[in-house]
Each structure stands twice: as structure tokens, then as C-alpha cells.
């Protein structure tokens, strides 16, 4: 099976890999990922970013095949019990295909707004393990234990730790694909690192921790520093420029408002909630949606549902929905990013809510304190993070040995902002500006 991909060009699955790819790609649950955009509402700001989680999953599996091909060159360094074999290789490729299978619509929004919603990782596990899904059936057709092993890889409880870290780690195939893909599709080129070279300098090395010896993914030699520094800087820039972009976040606050209002209507038993998707209704009531209801949710069904709220009999819901449809996003004021000034965030939020109330807007729907954060590079002495094999037997933490990564290491970066309806701007900006001691806090 040969696919064309904007990011990787030719993507070929051949021999045993082709069997696996066909078996998984044709499942109903993988096909659903075609209808879930990788970047959710970000296409409201970056007009090209319509790419699906389906394409990303195929890309991640492609990178996995390349990575394992590279690592097989150094497999003789690995003790027998941790060595790659045809079975664990297939498991790893399956895990790459399936790592996002549990994602809901609009990226993380759904799980965020509904308190009792499972996290997408839990849904991923449910979809892989539940015997009713086509994915589960496809995996079992290879081997009855395969679903469990694939989950173990994704959830980091697999006995071969290094293999797990290729699926979920600081430098995993998920990130490898999405940085390139998001970068290309948004047109923000900072995410374009050199994948060929990165794969080339990846290796495996023995690592002692807590009295145990295990194999970890590592960077080979000082020559590997630049490609891996470039990778983490790419990740840093993409958060700065895309994932936490103020207009995206403002769009997300608007959807949050719609979902919050919709949930209220469900809980009130309002007739206005009649047509909502079952999964949304269950979640709003604090109950767990069934797997099949959850799988009905995707960007398309949820968008159509949200848009149709424009005609809802609840005036608040209808009004918010119209804003979304017409892309009348909320406005933002950035707050001081220093966590020691967190009291200012709350203060600003209170001021804003008061202003909203006086202006006749529901403060819980029209004013939001948005607190996105990111740690660009995380490591610790237990083996989390990346290690550099400077010479045989000498592993050093990337965060110590690299001049630039040392800067990003374990830093929590915050982009605190107030988001609010544009109508509040004229009152809100001077009031918050006064609090912050800035003339124009919207910059």
C-alpha cells in the first residue's frame, strides 16, 4: 500500500506492515479520525490547518517504521529480553496508528468542559480493548493479546520501556509527525526540523536507575546535539506561535461558552437541549457516555450540532452559536506571565466579570480566564527526558549537556489571558490596563 502524503511524500506499507495497515485503516474507528482535525479550532486562525488526525496517525506509523529500521542497526547492543522482534515491531506500529484513536472533537475541548468526561487516553484504551470495536477485532485477528500489548505501549506500562517511549515520550513518533505536519499546514515554518538527521542520531543505550538496568532511547554523540536541540526548539516555537496563539484560544473560549450553556440546559432538563448528541447529554449529566455514543462524536457532528444551536430556542445558546458561525471570536488581554503575579490574573478576572455583569452579559459565558501553559522540555533523574551517549558508557542528560536545552529544561511557560466578548472591550481594556499599569494591555 502506497499513500501520498504532503509531509512525508511517499508513505509505503509493505509485506507484513501492509496487512496491518489495511486491517487498521479500514476500521470504522480509524475512519472516524478523518473527521477530527488535528488542530481543532486552530484553522479559524491558520487557514490551511484543516489536516485530520487520520493523516497524522498514518504519518506517525510511517515515522515509527523508519525509527525502528534505524534502531535495528544498533539492536545488538540491547539485552535479549528488550530486543525488538517481529511481534513487538508490529505492536509498536499498531500503537503508532492508534495512539490518537480516542480523541474527541475539537482537540481537548470536549474533555475539558465536561467535568466527568474521560480523558482521550482513556477512550483510546477503551476503544482498543472493547471487543465490540473493529479496531479490537482487527488486532485480535493477529493475536489475542495484541490489544493489551498495544495499550501497554501507549499507556507506558509495557515491559520494554524504550519501545513505549517511541510511542509516548519526549521524542516520540507522535511529536515527530505532528511538528512537521502542523508546521507545514499552518505555514509557520518554525516546526520544520530535520527528521532524516534526527533518526540518524537516535540510538539505544543501557541506563541504570533505581538499581535496575534498562535500555533507553538516546542521542548518539555530540554530533546528535544540533538535530535534537532543533527539534525541541521547534516544539517550543510551535507552542509560542500556534498552539497557544491568542486568537485560537479566544475561539476555544467561545466554544467553551457554548458547551457550558448547552450543559446547563441539559441539566435543567430544558426542551432546548432536545437535539444534542447523546454523548454530550450524558457528559453534561455527569454520566459516562457509551462507547458507541462517544464514537458518534467528531468535528463534523459536533460542528453541525453547535451551528444548529443558532436556531435554538434558548436565546443565550443561539446568540453564542451565531458568533461562532460568523467567526465573531472573543477578544483577549494578555496578563503578566510570571506565576508570582497569579493574584493579578484573578483580580483582572473579577474586574472583567463585574464589567460583564453591569453590561448585561452572563459573566460565566462571556468572560474567561485562560491559562495555557507548557514545559518545552521536561526531564528528571529517573530517566524521563532525553540522554546523550557522549561516548560508549557515558550517558549525560540532554538538559545538562546542551547549551540551548538547558535553558528550556523544566521551565513552565505560561500565556495567561482574559478572553471576553468584543462588546466589553471599551470598558474592560482601560479598567484592566489600570490594574496592570499598562496603557494598552491588548498588545
Amino acid at each position: 500500500m502506497i499513500l501520498r502524503d504532503p509531509v512525508h511524500g511517499l508513505v509505503a506499507f509493505e509485506g507484513e506492515d501492509e496487512k496491518l495497515a489495511r486491517a487498521l485503516l479500514d476500521t470504522r474507528e480509524m475512519q472516524r479520525l478523518r473527521r477530527i482535525r488535528q488542530l481543532g479550532l486552530i484553522s479559524l486562525v491558520f487557514i490551511g490547518a484543516e489536516h485530520s488526525r487520520f493523516a497524522h496517525s498514518v504519518g506517525a506509523a510511517h515515522v515509527m517504521i523508519r525509527l525502528l529500521e534505524r534502531l535495528s542497526q544498533v539492536m545488538d547492543r540491547v539485552p535479549a529480553e528488550e530486543r525488538l522482534d517481529p511481534v513487538s515491531r508490529r505492536d509498536a506500529i499498531a500503537a503508532a496508528f492508534l495512539h490518537d484513536i480516542g480523541h474527541g472533537p475539537f482537540s481537548h475541548l470536549f474533555e475539558e468542559i465536561v467535568p466527568k468526561a474521560l480523558h482521550h487516553e482513556d477512550w483510546t484504551e477503551a476503544i482498543i480493548m472493547d471487543p465490540s470495536t473493529e479496531v479490537n477485532r482487527a488486532l485480535r485477528a493477529f493475536d489475542p493479546e495484541m490489544p493489551e500489548r498495544v495499550c501497554a505501549l501507549i499507556r507506558k506500562r509495557h515491559p520494554v520501556a524504550w519501545l513505549s517511549s517511541t510511542v509516548s515520550g519526549v521524542l516520540d513518533v507522535d511529536r515527530c509527525d505532528y511538528l512537521l505536519r502542523d508546521s507545514m499546514m499552518t505555514g509557520v515554518r518554525y516546526g520544520l526540523y530535520d527528521l532524516d538527521w534526527l533518526l540518524r542520531v537516535t540510538t539505544l543505550a543501557p541506563f541504570h536507575s533505581s538499581g535496575r538496568l534498562r535500555t533507553i532511547l538516546a542521542i548518539e554523540g555530540r554530533k546528535g546535539l544540533s538535530p535534537v536541540e532543533d527539534f525541541f526548539l521547534a516544539r517550543y516555537f510551535m507552542h509560542q506561535q500556534v498552539y497557544h496563539h491568542k486568537a485560537t484560544r479566544a475561539g476555544e473560549c467561545l466554544v467553551r461558552a457554548i458547551l457550558r450553556r448547552a450543559s446547563e440546559l441539559v441539566r435543567e432538563g430544558s426542551p432546548a437541549a432536545a437535539g444534542f448528541p447523546p454523548a454530550l447529554r450524558m457528559a453534561a449529566l455527569g454520566e459516562l457516555p457509551s462507547l458507541s455514543d462517544y464514537l458518534e462524536l467528531d468535528d463534523m457532528t459536533l460542528s453541525v450540532a453547535l451551528f444548529s444551536c443558532e436556531k435554538n430556542c434558548d436565546p443565550l445558546l443561539s446568540e453564542l452559536s451565531r458568533r461562532l458561525r460568523n467567526r465573531a471570536l472573543f477578544k483577549t488581554i494578555s496578563l503578566p506571565p510570571n506565576p508570582e503575579k497569579a493574584w493579578l490574573w484573578e483580580e483582572a478576572h473579577l474586574i472583567a466579570k463585574d464589567i460583564a455583569k453591569s453590561a448585561g452579559f452572563d459573566p460565566d459565558l462571556y468572560v474567561w480566564l485562560d491559562l495555557p501553559e507548557d514545559v518545552p522540555y521536561r526531564d528528571n533523574r529517573e530517566g524521563e527526558g532525553m540522554w546523550v551517549l557522549v561516548e560508549p558508557g557515558h550517558l549525560f542528560p540532554l538538559g545538562e549537556i546542551s547549551f540551548t536545552i538547558a535553558r528550556l529544561r523544566n521551565q513552565r511557560i505560561l500565556w495567561p489571558r482574559l478572553c471576553f466578548a468584543p462588546e466589553l472591550r471599551d470598558c474592560l481594556v482601560p479598567a484592566v490596563g489600570e490594574l496592570l499599569g499598562r496603557k494598552d494591555p491588548s498588545n
Copy 2:
């Protein structure tokens, strides 16, 4: 206003252009294009091709600005009455933004399946001219006559013919953008021609035809041949490899089948047709949908409608819908492309329908004769086509002067195929193979 775009990088609309861009992009009708994919079902085959007509329209407007900037360097050659002025410049940019505004979901499928449907060009005109639309209001806010002039540019009835041809012509901003965009997003790189160089060699020249002198868009000098040959070859390759790809076409036949069955149910007054979108119901009844009903249709609403047919009480509709959702596309057999052998196509179609009937499949839903065609480069002596200004005063038709385009000129290329349910394959392939004298006609 600065946008990031995967194709053009930075896309800036500044000064007067910014006003226009803001006014148009924020309309409800332009925002709807976010929900219509440029390539319809082609993402079923090319996994990255999820880009929207919205991004394409922005790209076309960007190319228009660059083209007019280039042409303004030679504007002194143009008689006063055909010269670009601020008003016609703004009209042309608006036309580039709006040229696709009337497109329905799934590319051309909707208008194809429903006999009385308006063509997308007619909907485009309706949307621009109807005083109820936000687009019409936005244009009128600039100038009451602007809607009419913009339509004239798009429908080729504008008094300044060369300006019309930048919107709708053999080398227009629509093609300039979509070849690059589709090429990049599908990963099929044949569509990547050199836009910078193409703009550079574009010029304006006086042209005599039917006793009248007018200005036409032309290519400047022999040095312009290569970029423009490359452009038309790119177009040729994209048709060959993408637009008429067999799997895409097979997917479209499946959607055709669903729409045909749905239309039947509407006409029969079946309760199974209850939840269909109003525009679809009207069209099925041979009536013209209202503009607002038409505008409710987009890839999302139609997809959700088609997918929900899986639970329809009509077993045929339900069965077809499940195939689409699970991407169980039809299979194809290619037929001889020579139009003199058209009788073989009909013959093969009849054989296939008989086989379907015997196998218990509705032949009008499960067997399709698909006849895509394209003329890679079209010209005539009336001025259609491209002209090359070899030296001042000496215009030659591109189709005569270019070694490669002479080959493509006015050639009608056909890709005739049978499309059918996979279950029919074992009976159908040998039967049609015998007719065609080929062992395996599925190649």
C-alpha cells in the same frame, strides 16, 4: 491583515485591500467555504487533501494582487478605457475572493446528481446579487454597482475582457492557486509550477478579432514559453493523477448512488426521507432550493446527513451509507479511452447491469459508467487560449508556437470506467475482460 498560508507563506492584505478582505472574509457566506473542501471526496484517496475552498479563495485573491501588481508595470500599453483603475482593481480582487462562493458540498457532485440543480456558477451569481446575503451587503457598502460588476468579471461579461480572463480564463488566478494547493496537499508534486516566473512573463497586448481591437492577457517573449508550458503540463498531470484518479471516481459513484436513492425516496414521499436537508429535498423534487436552504448545505451538513442514513429505515440507503462511512468504495474497470470505441462502453455497462441484476443488486445504484474527460489546453482563433507576444506587434497562439502545448491543444482526453460494488467483481471482471479482449481489465 496578515495570514499564514501553507502555499504562499505570508499573505498580506493592506490598505484598501485590507478593508475589502475584512468585509468579505467575515461574511457568513465566505465562512461557509471553510466547511467545503476544495477536492471533495479526493481526501478518501489522498489523505492530506482536506484543504477548504476558503483557503483557496484567499490564495486566489493573493495571486490576483500579485498579478495586477505585475500587469500595472505594462499598463501604459493599454488604451485608457481598458486600463486598470482603483475601482476595477478592487472589483477584480473581490471577484477572486468570491469566484467559488456558490460551490456546493462534495465538489460538483450535488449539481450533477440532481437534474434541475443550478450550476455552482449560477449560485455564485445568486449569492453575490441577492440583497439578503452578507456578501451582497458588503459589496454594496463599497459601491451599489459593485455586485453587478463583480459578477460580470466572474461570468465573463465584463467590458474589460482581459480583466475577466484573470478571473475565468485558461490562465486565471483560480487555476494558479489550486494547482499549487492541490499539488501540495495531495503530495503529488506534478502541480508545482513556478508562480514567480509565470507572473513575471505575463503581459498585456492589443489583439484584433472580429474587426475589433481589444487587450488580452499574453505571454511576453519566447523566454515565457517554459513557465507557461510547465503550468499547462502541471494541469495535465494533476488531472491524470488526482482529479480523475480511479479510487476518487469510485468514491464519487458511491455518493451518487446514495444521492440517487435519497432522491427516489423523496419523490416517493417515503417517510425514510424525513430528515433530509431541505435543499436536497427540493432538488430531488425538481424544484429550486431557496438560497438560504442552499447555503445550509456544506461538506459537514451533507456528510452528517449521508452518514446518518446508515440508520435509515430504507435498507438500500442504509446499506450504501454504511459503505461510505467504512470507506468500502466501489471497484473499477478501465475502458478503452478512444471515443470511437464508445459503443464498447455502453456494451460493458449493459453487461455489468445484467450481472448486477442477477446477483440481486439494483443495477442503477451498484453499477455506474463513469466518463470523466478533460481538454488540457483549449484555444481557438477567437482569442480563447493563450497568446505569446514574440516581439512587439507579433502575437502567436501558444498552441502553435509551443512544441509541447501543440500536443495538448484541443485534445479531449477521456478516462472511461465501469464502477461497481466489490461483490460483483468475480463475475464482472471476466465478462468485461472477454468483451475487451483483455485478461485482467482491472489494471
Copy 3:
């Protein structure tokens, strides 16, 4: 050994390939290719085209490794005696490294101007076979017969014909690399075809000709048509836009004039010829330069020699040399490309020479009739050209089955031009214009 390359990114030679690469790249004769530009004087026109034949040779070897990797997937179709084995694989990679080893300075100019000069192919053979060279020694260290087998591959007399055709054929690794490299370095993007896809559709097939069955390189299936059409069109465009560009050719005529005058001085025994490189002196006298003298010639030594002629006591040589140094190239008039009008070329040449003489310029140095030509795609029934394996057992000539290649097939394309000193322009242009019936023939 891992190299970085602007065209292919990472170029890795590993295991046995690394041994071969190290052995060959470190030879004095391969190192000399660092000092010979791939495109000779073309950098006078395309300012970035300074790339060396050394980088090209490395690139060709890299493509060979990729091509053989691809073909090894279909090697089971090949009869035992034509199958790739480790020895023939190594030979082929060596041939790719060495195919240009005999090239002299300034591309083909040296062999063109000096009547008895060997062609670069003959020098290639001499360098590989002569026991005094480091290349010969390096090959013999692997296997005493290796030099002969490598020559056989390059000179198309190897028993395994398909392998020879990967080194010297219509679609060989030489072209595969140079189209991409020249395209990138000149900034003329028409040469950028899709190498990944091209390799993918390459296959091997049995072929009957002259009562003999042999294996040939072929294209797999109709899906392979587009990449291979694109490749030959890329080649066509590069000839049109780069290799036969008028300014390049005018620069070459100037160097021809210098070499011609220098040769005359050698033959006259003039003291002015004292400092010329020995190889040049021998060639001018109609004798064969020694291999070691030939190897002393490269772009650097010849350039320094030509430039130093500026101070030569022969006024003609000095004058021509100063023009080159200051890039005062000749001017050109294009002549009708139709070979039936070849009499016009001679006529124009005579007129021009007369004008030169009257103006006091040596007509054999300051006026040149330049007749570059190319056949964009060549095939015949003996197996030259490319074949398409439409289905197993059914081979068709590319030139018949492809719509676009049919156009280029066996077409001889000419770019006849007069080249002359700029001082002659004012007299020459009207005189030749009158002959050709054109007002301004310099366009």
C-alpha cells in the same frame, strides 16, 4: 560515511559501500573532480551554478544505491545470469562514482575545440584502466578484474545490459542526479521531478529482440507514466532554459575563440605559447596528451591559464582573454530552427564574417555559427528508450503509450545562433535581419 548534500540531504555509505566510497573518493583523480564544475561556463549566467562534478558523482552513486535497493525487490523475476549479486552491485556503484572521471575542464569545450582530443568517455576508460592511477589501484585492491567490469558498465559493453543502462541509458543515475542538482543550483525549477516516485515505479522485465531474450529496465504499470513523463519533460525544459541558454553559448564561443587562438600560437611555435598547460600544447599540435598532463587540467588550472593570457604578448589572445575576465560575452542572433532552412544559417554566417572582416575583426575568432541540438527522448525498436510494463508480459514503448512523450520522441531540436563580438552588433543585426525578414533578429 555520512555526507551532507544540498540535493539529497543525508547521503550515507555504509558497510561494504563505505569501504568502496572511501577507497574511491580519496583518490587523486576523484579529488580532481572537485575542481571541475558540473556546468562549466553556465555559472556566468546562473550565478549559483558553481557545483562540482565531484558532488554530482557522489549524488549519482547515492541514487544508484537507492535504485538497486528498489530493483532488488523484483530481482526474482530476473534469470540467474542477469541477477544482481554483491559483486555486480559494487561494480555498479563504482561505475556511478566514476562515470564522469574523464571529464575535462569547462564541460565539453576542451574536446570540442581540439580536433584530436579524446572524448571524455575515452579519458574515463583510460583513467580507470591505467595501472598508474589511484582509481585503478583502488579498484584492483577489491578485485583485479574490477576496472574492466566497471568500464564495461560505463561503456555499455557489460554482459548484464540492464545494469549498464542504469549507468548510461535514457533514465540513468547520471541524469537522475544532474537534473535535480542543476535545477536546484541554477534556480530553474523545471528540472525538479519526483525521484522517490520515479524509483518506486522502476522495475525489470524480460524483453525479446533480435531473437534474444534479455532483461531491461522498465516502468511498472500505467501509474508509472506520470513520474517518467515528468522526468523527460524536466530534461527537455533544462535544455531549453539552461544548457542551451543563449548567454551560456555566447560565453562558450568566447572561450572557443581563446582556445583557437592559443592553438594557432602553439602550432606557429610562437613564444606567446610558452606558458600554456602541456595538455593544451599537445592537443593543439594534434598529439595525444599524456594521462598525467591531462589530469593536471581542471577548471582552476585552465581558468588561471586563460586569464593569464590577458598579459600575453599576442594582442589577439590578450584582447580575447580580457573580455572573458571582465565577462564581456559575445552577443547572439537566433536563426530559424527548422533544419530545412540550414542554408540560411550558412548565409548568415558568411554575411557576419564579411562584416567582421570589414570592421577589422578576425572573422574566425569574433564570429561563430553555434548549432546546439538535442533529442529530448530517443528510442528505437532495438530496445533503446524506455518501456512500460502495462501488465505482466505486455511491454509497450514509452514513446507510443505516453501522450506527452510521443511528442518529444526522436525529435531533433535545434537552437541555431550567430555569436559575435558586441562591436559588430550595429552592422550585423540589420544585415542579418534583412536576410531573415525580421526587424529585430536579436529577440
Copy 4:
């Protein structure tokens, strides 16, 4: 005048710019830059890096035109006396063309080895100011004061400081071009930053320092941080991976050895020094070469001279020269980069020289202590460095406001290494390893 360039694609000089470009590019001194590679000996390691300073100079002028076009949008913020006018615009473009005109062969090597050699900046000034050069004449033809003003821009003594900083500053057109060009040509993609976006965020701002108000180049708003961070990180990576690559530096030490030996021979009045280029002879004698002698030196003439030393009667010179020709570069041992350990460098150097002496090698020719260093980003309170205009009137130093640049700011990074003849390796590695406490110090 339209040029094709691998980096910038189309490079057009039009109107007044075309006149300037023609006048300068055709001068003998600019043409000489065709024969000086941008990266000197780096092509010994990165096989594609053959690009010339000529192409770079054209690229720098192209970036200058784009930068000034961008800045003219904000020129109304600038006081009249610092505003761009047609004359200063032309001066700045000329300065971009000419900023490297004084460079000698092999990058900085020539000036480094010869104690009394002028720096290339001094030669640049001499070439522009000396009435005998074609460059001087070309500039004077525009305006008698132009040479002086162009020099003032290049040497940072121009009254309009911001304009000077576009030629020589932390973010100047020189760096803008060479990072992209070197990155592309070496195949090391870390240097590829986003020029379009960088130009977009560049602005001009009033700046108070030492009681004076002047205009400086600045970054507009926080949105400009990412592109400018990316630029300085690109610079940092290119130093790490390319400019200070160990094999490059080892090659340079070999050339240093040849030049040192050649200088000795000149000073000794040895007949072996007979054929050396006059400029080299003068420099070796501690005298200033004449301008015309200096201009005879380029990569070609110096290479041919160095290579011909292979046949020199001085055995040392001959031996060193053969190494260069056959690319038998020196080997390296990296030393601890901490400047507090500088005593170890000297220690290691002494040990190495002793070992060389014992082995019969001249320690001053065959052992070198190489101390390349770089400050990735330099700023100070006097206005050196880059400033960010966070909001109107509020300028902050980039090094304070940027999370990543704060890390690089005013850091002196060192890559100390021993370079030595490969024959010394077996003795030297253990001896130095012991000193450094490392098993294998060659890693």
C-alpha cells in the same frame, strides 16, 4: 535585469537599481568574487558548498532592496535627517553589493597567516576608494562622493546609524543572505529561518543613548520575537555544525602550514619561492601588497599556486601540498571548552609538539592549537544588539525580553582543538587523553 538564484529564486534589479547593478556587477573587482568561495575550505567537508561570494553579494543586495521596501512603510516615524531618500537608498544597495569586495582567497586564512596583511575590511575600503579600480569609477559615475558614503556605510561611520546597521550589524543583509545560502548549499538545514516573516517584523524606532536621540533598527512587537529568535538560533547552529566543524578547521590548519612554510621560504630568499604570487611574497616579507597584486589573488590562483607546490624543490612544502591535493587532512582532538581550563590547551599543545619533534615532524607545521570562538548574540546598553518595540515608545533589549536569546547573549563559545598530522595519532591520542583524563579524546 533578472537573475535566477538558488536561494531567492527570481532576483530582479529594475529601474535605477538595474543601472546600479549593471555598473557594479560588470566591474573586474566584482567579477573576481566569482572566483572566491563563500566558505573557503568548507567544501572539503560539505561537498555542495562551492558557492561564490559573487552570488552572496547579489543575494545581499536583493535582501537590502526588500528590507528598504519594508522599512519605507514606517519611514514617517523617522526624523527628516535620518530618513531614506533615493541617494541613501542607492548607497545602501551599493554597500550590500560591495561589502565583501575586499575578501581574499580561502575566507579569512590569508589575513590570518600573514602578520602584516590588511584585514579584508581594509581592502574593501581600499578597493572602493582607490581611483584606479573599476568599482571606484562606477560609483563616481553616479556621484563623486558616493565611494566615500558607501565606505562609511560598510565601516559603520555613516551619519545615518540605522542604515549602516543594515550593512554591518547583528541583523544585517550580509547575515540574512549567508545563513540561508550556506545552509542550503551545505545541506545543513538549521540555517533556514523565515526571511519573509523576519522582514515583516522589522521596523525603525527612536532610541536615546548618551544623551542623543537616534533611530535604530528594531523588532516590531512580541509577534516579532519568534522569527528573530529563530534567526539567531540558526546562526548559532551554523557555527556549531558548519563554520567550526572539526574537519574544516583541520583543513584550514593544513593550509596554514603551507602558507607558513611558503612565507619562511620567501623570507629566506629561497629559490623555492620563485613562482609564488607577488601578493603572497610581499605579505610574507611584512610589506603591504599593491592593490593590483592583491586583486590577482583568488581561490583559483591561490589553489593553483598551492597545488603546484607539490613539485616544489622544498621537500616540506612539497609534502604538505600533496596532502592538501589528496585531501589528507589533519586529525583533531577536542579540548575542554571551558576558558578556565585554557592552561590545559597550552599543556596539550606542548605535549603534541614534543611528540611531533620526536617523530621527526616540524612541530610548527604539523601541530596546531586551533581556538575558534563565537558570540552567538552580542548586545550592550550602547545600542549594539537588537531591540524590541513592545509597544510604541517602549523598547526592550532582545537579550532581556527573549527567553531563548537571553541564553545566547554575550556568551563566548569556544571549540578548542589540537590539529595534527594523522601519523602522530597513535602517540598523541593516549598522551593527551591522559592529560585530559579521557580514554578517547578524539570524540
